[in-house]
């Protein structure tokens, strides 16, 4: 005790945020966008009356939800080069790079969770709404796109954002691919300077502040939406 050097934070804070946090936020934003789009498609498939579609979506979601994210990260890190090679017809696995690999991983993994949220969202819209759409002569895509999904998104917005905060926390797991995300950057400085205590406490504090105030904002939003409805 007594030999702590909190100076190391001041010296590395620029690097931590410029390199690390930028990566973390980029990954979160891309995975959220991709995850919500793919998750919504999965939810529509899961609720579809076409058996193979709903079976596929159900199996996909259940599979993703029953294995740990770390295992999924490892799976895709090794699998994506082979899939890429298959797509372009190459004989050897292609180089994908840790960044794209992690974007693909998080998009596909989080889609399973966003799917469950969107499924609840679609089911929260009264059935008469969709039926009214069909009665007006709209087709499936028009009914979904103009009537059901906008309401589903609105109803589920707080839950989607809460899931995004969880995604933000989960992105720290790319540490296992030696990527310089926020935690990875903190870890590199910590090991270089032998300042594990200071750096990890600081990382924990930064994550806590972001997630705590993020959750507060979501709660405010929830109240706002609840009044309007």
């Amino acid at each position: 005790m007594g030999a702590f050097d909190f100076d190391v934070i001041e010296r590395s804070v620029g690097y931590l945020f410029r390199e690390g946090m930028t990566f973390t936020l980029t990954l979160t934003a891309l995975a959220m966008t991709g995850g919500i789009i793919f998750g919504t498609l999965l939810a529509m498939m899961r609720l579809s009356s076409i058996k193979p579609l709903s079976w596929f979506a159900g199996t996909y979601v259940n599979l993703m939800r029953s294995i740990p994210l770390l295992l999924v990260i490892f799976w895709f890190y090794f699998l994506v080069p082979y899939i890429g090679a298959y797509i372009i017809g190459s004989n050897t696995p292609i180089q994908v790079g840790a960044f794209y690999s992690s974007v693909i991983t998080f998009t596909l993994f989080e889609a399973a969770y966003y799917c469950e949220i969107m499924r609840a969202g679609i089911q929260s819209v009264a059935r008469g709404q969709a039926l009214a759409g069909y009665a007006l002569g709209l087709n499936y895509w028009q009914t979904m796109g103009k009537i059901v999904l906008p309401q589903a998104f609105r109803n589920m917005l707080p839950v989607l954002l809460t899931q995004t905060i969880i995604l933000f926390q989960d992105t720290s797991l790319v540490y296992v691919l030696s990527i310089t995300d926020f935690l990875g950057a903190a870890s590199k400085v910590a090991q270089r300077d032998g300042r594990l205590v200071e750096m990890y406490l600081f990382a924990a504090l930064v994550y806590f502040v972001i997630c705590f105030f993020g959750s507060l904002l979501v709660k405010q939003l929830q109240k706002k939406i609840a009044i309007v409805r």
Binding site: L63, S66, I67, L69, L71, I117, L173, L196, Y207, C211
Partner: protein, 251 residues
């Protein structure tokens, strides 16, 4: 695509000196289950206590309970893992810290991993327990008081038995979460199931066989847990009550 499938790899001798690669995998499964179960018991005890604290009328108890949940929910599990493993021994009194660092190999990472998973999951269980108790009609606790029960007795005989039945489904998914989350312990050196698959991949280069095996084992564990909890749910169900609890997002 050139990938040489070799499913017989599991029966070949692994360089870790524990027999075949299959033994490596079984060993990993053992550590996953040991870590998850130990942490689960811890999480249930602490989580129930914190959850109950948050429903009492005492302002300080509620505040401490809320602070606990916010603290453990807003820091990523991996960061918490590092805090328990790297930071805690430095902050403890010298002798304790040394004792933590000098434990023999599996325990040096097993103990911090269990502490981390236990305290982390306790926050999530506390949230479920609170939701479960608050979903009961107010009349239940009033009836307890009217019967002359003390506050602890009301919780013990009236509120908690119903609340735990109501939150069984979310507790099932929390239990599966703790099994999945135990994989994060590989970052501090615990060779659990995911780490075992990873070590098979590193030694034998049979990436997809190793990961497929681990995936199948996780799915198998999931099925067992779901069936087991369904059995418990049926066993303890109170006729006439079909409990549904609010769901909390997460994994």
């Amino acid at each position: 695509m050139n990938y040489n499938w070799n499913w017989r790899i599991f029966f070949e001798t692994s360089p870790d000196g524990r027999g075949t690669y299959l033994d490596t995998l079984v060993n990993g499964l053992g550590w996953t289950i040991a870590a998850a179960l130990t942490a689960w018991v811890m999480a249930l005890v602490i989580g129930s206590a914190i959850g109950v604290m948050r429903t009492t009328s005492n302002k300080w108890l509620t505040l401490i309970g809320n602070a606990y949940v916010e603290l453990f929910r807003n820091i990523p599990l991996l960061v918490q893992m590092f805090l328990w493993f790297f930071v805690l021994p430095e902050l403890l009194p010298r002798d304790w810290g040394l004792a933590m660092k000098q434990m023999t190999p599996p325990w040096a990472s097993f103990v911090p991993a269990v502490l981390c998973l236990g305290f982390f999951t306790a926050a999530r269980i506390a949230e479920q327990v609170r939701a479960g108790i608050q979903s009961l009609p107010r009349g239940q606790s009033l009836a307890g008081t009217a019967l002359g029960l003390t506050v602890p007795q009301t919780y013990r005989y009236v509120l908690l038995p119903m609340a735990f039945r109501i939150i069984l489904p979310p507790l099932t998914s929390e239990f599966m979460n703790i099994i999945k989350n135990s994989s994060v312990a590989l970052t501090i050196g615990l060779v659990e199931l995911t780490a075992a698959a990873r070590s098979i991949q590193e030694f034998s280069f049979q990436v997809f066989e190793a990961f497929t095996a681990a995936t199948l084992v996780y799915i198998f564990i999931n099925v067992i847990v779901v069936l087991g909890m369904r059995f418990i749910e049926k066993k303890v169900a109170v006729p006439g009550f079909a409990g549904t609890a609010p769901t909390v997002p997460g994994h």
